[in-house]
């Protein structure tokens, strides 16, 4: 897998330094190729460097982060944007979600946990590749595509590398390597990610109880589910559901 190129946008130099030096980009197959301190600079950097990932503060001088994303989106449809926001501009985050931002994180940034965010990005980049391949109806299906589809379909069941190995007649080590090479994240990170995505969809689109959502997304014990969800999203499943419903209530959607 080629290294992902990252551009950091924040008007505070300390925050950029923190990102640059406190997070192990190397270990996550990424490298920081550029920085910007305001909206105009960010636009120029994105155009010149064509990064895979842009870490973007919203509240920046000259032109706010969302505007930069809006303008860059058209020219660089494949770039992933991660919004970094303080609680003071949390309302922007909702807008960000509507703008199809790949991910958002809240300040204060916990650099140890930032890896999860990068993993999520890699998974969404992978999924985009898969859907492009499917559209082009490419020759033979690759092993990883089959495995991930199988995972999607059997999400609610007990899942492990051993189970996959039996189904696909491959060694667990090989499958593990496949994930690392093709997607760039470990098997468990991938599994957690798609379980969380499913859970979020269920929380918003259905009125299933938290326990039922937990079960359908592969967590027998819903306390474990709540814990994992909270770690991934920063809020509990019930809050997630309530916040979203409140928000749509407010906008009249």
């Amino acid at each position: 897998m080629k290294k992902l190129r990252v551009v950091l946008v924040d008007d505070e130099i300390m925050i950029r330094e923190g990102f640059k030096r406190l997070f192990d980009w190397q270990a996550h197959d990424c490298e920081v190729v550029g920085e910007a301190a305001d909206g105009m600079e960010a636009l120029a950097q994105i155009d010149a460097l064509r990064p895979d990932i842009v870490i973007m503060d919203i509240n920046i001088p000259i032109m706010n982060g969302l505007k930069v994303i809006q303008l860059s989106r058209m020219k660089h449809p494949d770039t992933a944007f991660v919004i970094v926001s303080g609680y003071d501009d949390f309302s922007y985050c909702r807008e960000a979600l509507r703008l199809q931002i790949t991910d958002y994180i809240l300040k204060p940034v916990n650099y140890e946990e930032f890896g999860t965010c990068i993993d999520n990005l890699k998974i969404s980049l992978f999924e985009r590749r898969v859907s492009v391949e499917a559209e082009q109806a490419q020759q033979e299906e690759r092993a990883i595509t089959g495995i991930t589809r199988y995972l999607q379909q059997h999400l609610a069941e007990d899942m492990s590398l051993t189970v996959l190995a039996e189904v696909f007649h491959l060694s667990p080590q090989y499958i593990s390597q496949l994930f690392k090479n093709e997607i760039g994240v470990g098997f468990l990170a991938y599994l957690t990610n798609i379980r969380m995505e499913t859970a979020k969809k269920l929380l918003l689109a259905t009125s299933l109880s938290i326990a039922e959502v937990a079960e359908q997304s592969g967590y027998g014990d819903y306390r474990v589910f709540t814990k994992v969800f909270k770690k991934a999203e920063g809020i509990t499943p019930s809050q997630y559901r309530r916040d979203f419903l409140e928000e749509t209530g407010k906008t009249g959607a």
């Binding site: 300390m14 923190g18 406190l22 300040k107 204060p108 938290i210 509990t236 019930s238 809050q239």
Partner: protein, 435 residues
């Protein structure tokens, strides 16, 4: 003969007593009024004295009569000058435009006082009574006319920018003085200038300087200070703390970085306090941030949690746990040098409610304190709303639980058999009557 002068003096002396015993903000306006009151009182005494001496021309030596008359009219010009000054400051406060006529007013005052003490004085004796006259009478006439014209000019020039009530106060005072002066001018022997000045002072006292207004101003000032204090932008605070945290981590100081992270968490969570009800999990998160910081400051302090995980999503009134725990620390464990344990547990009760216990191993209640607190929590509704003080935290918690969840819920305290106290928070499972 002196009846009116004595009555006026007594009235204003009473007003001065009330005025000086009331608390007030120290503003140029109130300071001017204080000076004005004192000078008017002196003026009224001199007024009485001159009314007496002028009617006893044959017994009182001429020089003494001259002296008190000159002092009397000198103080009168000073009083009128102070009235002008008061109105000018009032107009300045209202419009925000600086006063420009201070120097002309002061120079005129100096010239008038000089004239008052130098110009010749004579006395008129009539059947209705005696009065002083002569060129020195130019001083009171000129002074009153000059300053009243200045005041009227101020009022007219700024009529659009002055509050209606204050405009009326100034207008009424001017009208009174003009009327009295006209009457006095027409009837030289009436000697009612003191009445005009007293009425003018009274009209300002009643409209702009009475104790109710002074108290309201003070309260407003206090409230605005509190308001300002609560308005220090919390985002500035935690954004700055976050920058310091990153610097600490860049410098390799993980411990400091972690502590700052917890502090930022604490602020961030308490800033969210604009919601009435929050999930128990949120409440606990705030508490954990607080306790972790306290435990770091006092290493022998321990905190234990025993929370039924099913209760995490239950809605509880915002900000009820931290004040209770803080109370346990400050009134229980502090006395033991912060050595001990705070245990927070949450469980379902048999009758389908939720009980949260905050149990500490502190010093327990002092003699008689338990019943005082029980009484306070029982009669929470009658307790006045306090802005500061000792039990404000727990009283506030009690009030909010009763208000948001219903009267059957609330806070109570018991003593532990092994020492220390336990706070019991009884809460509904469905968030109560307010959703």
């Amino acid at each position: 003969m002196l009846r009116m002068e004595i009555a006026l003096f007594l009235i204003l002396a009473f007003v001065a007593c009330v005025y000086f015993s009331a608390g007030r903000k120290s503003t140029p306006l109130h300071r001017t009024f204080s000076v004005l009151l004192v000078v008017v009182l002196i003026h009224l005494v001199l007024d009485g004295v001159t009314v007496y001496t002028v009617h006893h021309l044959e017994t009182v030596p001429r020089s003494l009569n001259d002296a008190v008359h000159r002092l009397f009219l000198g103080s009168m010009v000073l009083v009128i000058y102070l009235f002008y000054q008061y109105i000018a400051i009032l107009v300045e406060e209202e419009t925000g435009k600086p006063r420009r006529l201070d120097w002309p007013a002061r120079i005129f005052l100096a010239v008038a006082e000089l004239g008052n003490f130098l110009l010749p004085i004579s006395y008129m004796v009539t059947a209705e009574g005696n009065y002083s006259s002569g060129p020195y009478m130019l001083v009171p006439h000129g002074g009153v006319a000059f300053y009243l014209l200045l005041c009227a000019g101020l009022l007219v020039a700024n009529r659009r920018r002055i509050d209606q009530k204050k405009k009326l106060a100034i207008g009424a005072a001017l009208l009174i003085e003009v009327t009295v002066c006209t009457v006095q001018w027409l009837n030289h022997t009436w000697l009612i200038s003191g009445m005009g000045i007293t009425l003018m002072t009274l009209s300002f006292y009643l409209t702009l300087e009475n104790p109710d207004i002074l108290r309201a101003e003070l309260t407003e000032q206090k409230m605005s200070m509190l308001y300002l204090k609560s308005q220090v932008n919390p985002h500035f605070l935690y954004n700055t703390l976050d920058t310091i945290r990153i610097q600490a981590q860049l410098d390799g100081d993980k411990k400091v970085a972690d502590l700052l992270m917890r502090l930022v968490d604490f602020f961030r969570l308490s800033v969210k306090a604009d919601r009435q009800m929050v999930a128990l999990d949120d409440e606990l998160e705030l508490l954990e941030a607080y306790m972790e910081l306290m435990c770091y400051r006092y290493p022998e302090l321990q905190c234990e949690y025993d929370i039924d995980p099913d209760l995490g999503g239950i809605q509880v009134p915002n900000f009820i746990l931290q004040p209770i725990v803080e109370n346990s620390l400050l009134h229980g464990l502090k006395n033991k040098g912060y050595r001990g344990v705070v245990r927070i547990s949450a469980r379902k009760t048999a009758d389908h409610r939720m009980e949260i216990l905050v149990c500490d191993t502190g010093s327990g209640f002092a003699e008689g304190k338990k019943s005082a607190i029980d009484q306070m929590l029982l009669t929470y509704a009658k307790q006045p709303a306090k802005l500061e003080g000792n039990s404000i935290g727990i009283l506030n918690v009690q009030k909010r639980i009763k208000l948001l969840c219903g009267r059957e819920y609330g806070l109570s305290y018991t003593e532990n058999p092994t020492g220390g106290v336990t706070a019991h928070l009884l809460l509904p499972m469905n968030g109560g009557n307010v959703t």
